[in-house]
């Protein structure tokens, strides 16, 4: 009796490789993890909202210093990378390993492109003496992109320099932590890519590919909120 029960028990509790949770369980776990990520960023979004309400004029003034073109390019890059990672998952689900490899490579390249653009944006800000919690200069004219010291009045309203500083605190912290997520995503995707090249994933086992894709979509999604919040909304 016991021999057959052992086998029964083994098969029931060991549905797939490695982790006991199996495909559905691993995906469920990933969604739970993404929920914690949303709350992690939720703190920053809540903080941004509070200080946006407290310093509306200053936030509007400060947001003009951000480079909309670079921001738009990065948005396009990230959305495209979300597409390529989805295509990589689709390819491996259909058993097309080589295609999946190329889509993963494309995703990683797009991700590094995002970070390169971000690097240029950051250095441009540092160049104009704009640091977290400390902005010596801002763009004071939207059309000419003229930098100047933070004015005491703008569009007929008094400007509190603290509000401008806080805008850049949030800008650097939020995009910085998002950038860190991009970096982590790249590391994860590279790890998946190596596994893919080694032939670890097939059309019937692709859980890590799909889960890292889910993570990547979240990184993309957060940027979709960061972009209008910092660059567009007045």
């Amino acid at each position: 009796m016991s021999v057959s029960s052992i086998k029964e028990f083994e098969t029931i509790k060991h549905p797939v490789h490695e982790e006991l949770a199996g495909y559905e369980g691993a995906k469920f776990g990933m969604w739970l993890f993404l929920a914690t990520e949303l709350l992690l960023f939720g703190v920053l979004f809540a903080g941004f909202a509070i200080f946006h309400a407290k310093y509306p004029v200053e936030f509007k003034l400060a947001h003009m210093s951000l480079d909309r073109v670079m921001g738009s390019i990065n948005t396009v890059i990230l959305i495209t990378s979300s597409m390529t990672v989805a295509l990589a998952i689709d390819a491996i689900q259909r058993g097309k390993r080589n295609l999946s490899i190329w889509f993963l490579v494309a995703t990683i390249l797009l991700a590094s492109g995002f970070l390169v653009v971000k690097y240029f944006e950051y250095t441009a800000k540092f160049h104009h003496n704009i640091f977290p919690g400390n902005a010596q200069q801002v763009v004071i004219d939207h059309h000419t992109h003229q930098y100047g010291p933070v004015p005491s009045q703008w569009e007929g309203k008094a400007v509190d320099k603290n509000g401008v500083n806080l805008f850049f605190s949030f800008y650097f912290v939020m995009t910085g932590i998002h950038g860190l997520h991009v970096l982590i995503g790249m590391i994860v995707l590279t790890w998946v890519l190596i596994g893919m090249i080694k032939g670890k994933y097939t059309h019937w086992y692709y859980t890590p590919v799909e889960n890292s894709g889910l993570y990547w979509h979240l990184v993309d999604l957060i940027w979709i909120y960061l972009f209008p919040l910092f660059y567009l909304i007045q």
């Binding site: 949770a21 559905e24 739970l32 939720g42 509070i50 640091f131």
Partner: protein
């Protein structure tokens, strides 16, 4: 065939006989061993936190400077609070008893992600080491790290908070592992309505771990940025707002007290029916009230900030919600009392009198919590020893007592041995008297207006401070006796049988200690695991289902 027999032989070995080397323990993915590693680690920190508490009490034995300088005193209570909260009681029951029992109770081989489970332990360990680096120049912020003081004070606040941030991830990993485990790893046929209440409690706890921890994590990161980069978000001099730190802090740190206490409720719900020989009263009410507490616990954080500047409407709402969260807690207490009613109580069983001690002290804790929910009395009692006493009645009288009750209850299962019951009784008595002698006087001190965290006090407070300090010695002595007894008995105690209490839940249906794979044969479970007091009917096969 020969191969199959050899295979079976391996399965018969208990988990303690497999992979016995140090390396075998450190690299194990067995949830039982990880639970024990967690237990040992948190108990070491419990000792450190406890000693610092004794030193705090020692300083307060008389007004003025008695043993330490005011600065050392500040460091000591910070150390006590931070270690007890982040290093001991948050992992507390879930990572120890929860890790050990959850898979056993649902008839699974392990948790859903065994390797992540091990990773959680090491993340916790690394986090705890990083936070202890701060001892090189200790922080004096209290465990709450309130801005703006925590931004300005000397001391390695960054290391302490970074450690807490990292340990938060360990808590998240445990939580999400447990949720997936409960959803996906239950033995076939084991439905939600038949889950042990400890599992329900762990599930509700895991929801809070998952959703509250990231908030304090990011809050601490902002505090670190504040110290390193001077970003100004919490700095009033730079247009920021320190109250925002407090808001985010309590958004986690109020739910976190339910991370601490909910698993304790689960332990109590397991022990009471076994030693009352009565089915648990109101199974569904207890199960759902855990979820209700988890939900409402997110909406009460404002009661920590009633005097910190808040609109009247916000105060009314938070006060109402704080009363409201007491309802599901009271539901549990009444159901436990109803379980005891007309049961045949085995009052001499060690886990039982620990649990009854819990009921007594937690009821005091809950009722004094209501005083703090009332807006007008809170203004008076805020930041006094009344709050300190209330908090310690929930945490020590509640959680720690339940942890120790649970350790005794499952001790035969975990070690396959018995503890010395006489020592356990005397330990309990000293602990119970010592605890109440320490903290009952603090309610009176608080009512008389003694502020918490003060180094010095007016002479007329001295009597109760003296009683409290003497009580703390007995409190500490009680723990030494109880825990030494458990530790020694783990190696030398009498052998225990598989199911010494005739308990019905699944963890008792396997050998003691369990084999590495938890069950050798497919476990069977009764239609209700709380069908106690119906022993005559136990042979009734219609009530027993085969798991597969």
């Amino acid at each position: 065939m020969a191969h199959a027999v050899a295979h079976e032989h391996d399965h018969n070995k208990s988990y303690l006989e497999v992979g016995r080397s140090i390396w075998g323990w450190l690299t194990t993915t067995d949830h039982k061993k990880i639970g024990i590693m967690y237990l040992f680690t948190i108990m070491i920190y419990f000792a450190v936190g406890g000693i610092s508490a004794l030193l705090v009490r020692l300083e307060l034995i008389a007004p003025g400077k008695t043993f330490f300088s005011p600065d050392t005193y500040n460091v000591l209570f910070t150390l006590h609070g931070a270690i007890m909260t982040f290093l001991f009681i948050v992992p507390g029951i879930p990572a120890t008893l929860g890790n050990f029992l959850l898979p056993l109770m649902i008839g699974a081989k392990d948790v859903a992600f065994p390797r992540i489970n091990l990773a959680s332990y090491y993340v916790y360990l690394i986090g705890s080491f990083i936070s202890l680096v701060s001892l090189l120049s200790p922080a004096d912020t209290g465990w709450t790290f309130y801005a703006p003081y925590s931004m300005k004070t000397n001391g390695l606040v960054v290391w302490l908070t970074l450690g807490a941030f990292i340990m938060g991830f360990a808590s998240i990993l445990t939580g999400f592992n447990f949720i997936v485990t409960v959803h996906r790893m239950r033995a076939p046929g084991l439905g939600w309505s038949n889950l042990p209440l400890f599992v329900w409690a762990l599930y509700a706890t895991a929801i809070i771990q998952l959703l509250a921890t990231p908030v304090v994590g990011m809050n601490l990161v902002l505090l670190i940025f504040e110290r390193v980069l001077d970003i100004g978000i919490f700095n009033p001099a730079k247009g920021g707002d320190p109250i925002l730190f407090e808001q985010f802090f309590w958004f986690y740190s109020h739910p976190v007290v339910y991370i601490m206490i909910l698993p304790a409720f689960g332990v109590v719900s397991e022990i009471l029916p076994v030693f009352s020989r009565r089915p648990i009263f109101g199974y569904k009410a207890i199960a759902y009230s855990s979820l209700a507490i988890a939900l409402v616990s997110f909406l009460v954080w404002g009661h920590h900030l009633f005097v910190s500047g808040m609109s009247d409407w916000a105060r009314y709402i938070f006060s109402f919600l704080t009363f409201f969260v007491a309802v599901p807690t009271a539901i549990k207490i009444f159901n436990w009392l109803a379980t005891l009613w007309k049961g045949s109580l085995e009052i001499t069983a060690t886990p039982m009198y620990y649990t009854l001690g819990f009921l007594f002290m937690f009821t005091i804790a809950g009722l004094t919590g209501l005083h703090l929910a009332v807006l007008s009395t809170d203004v008076y009692l805020h930041d006094t020893y009344f709050v300190v006493a209330h908090f310690h009645y929930t945490m020590q009288g509640g959680t720690v007592f339940a942890l120790i009750a649970g350790l005794h209850y499952w001790f035969p299962k975990i070690t396959g041995r018995w503890y010395n019951k006489k020592v356990a009784f005397w330990g309990w008595l000293i602990l119970f008297v010592g605890f109440n002698a320490t903290f009952l006087p603090q309610f009176l001190l608080g009512l008389e207006g003694m502020p918490r965290r003060y180094f010095d006090y007016l002479p007329h407070f001295q009597t109760w401070h003296l009683v409290s300090t003497i009580g703390s010695w007995f409190n500490g002595l009680g723990y030494v006796i109880v825990l030494t007894n458990l530790l020694v008995s783990a190696f030398t105690g009498e052998k225990a049988e598989a199911n010494p209490y005739n308990a019905l839940s699944l963890e008792w249906q396997t050998s003691s200690p369990p084999p590495e794979t938890n069950f050798i044969t497919t476990p069977t479970f009764p239609a209700s695991i709380y069908d106690y007091g119906t022993e005559g009917k136990e042979e009734d096969t219609s009530k027993t289902k085969k798991a597969v």
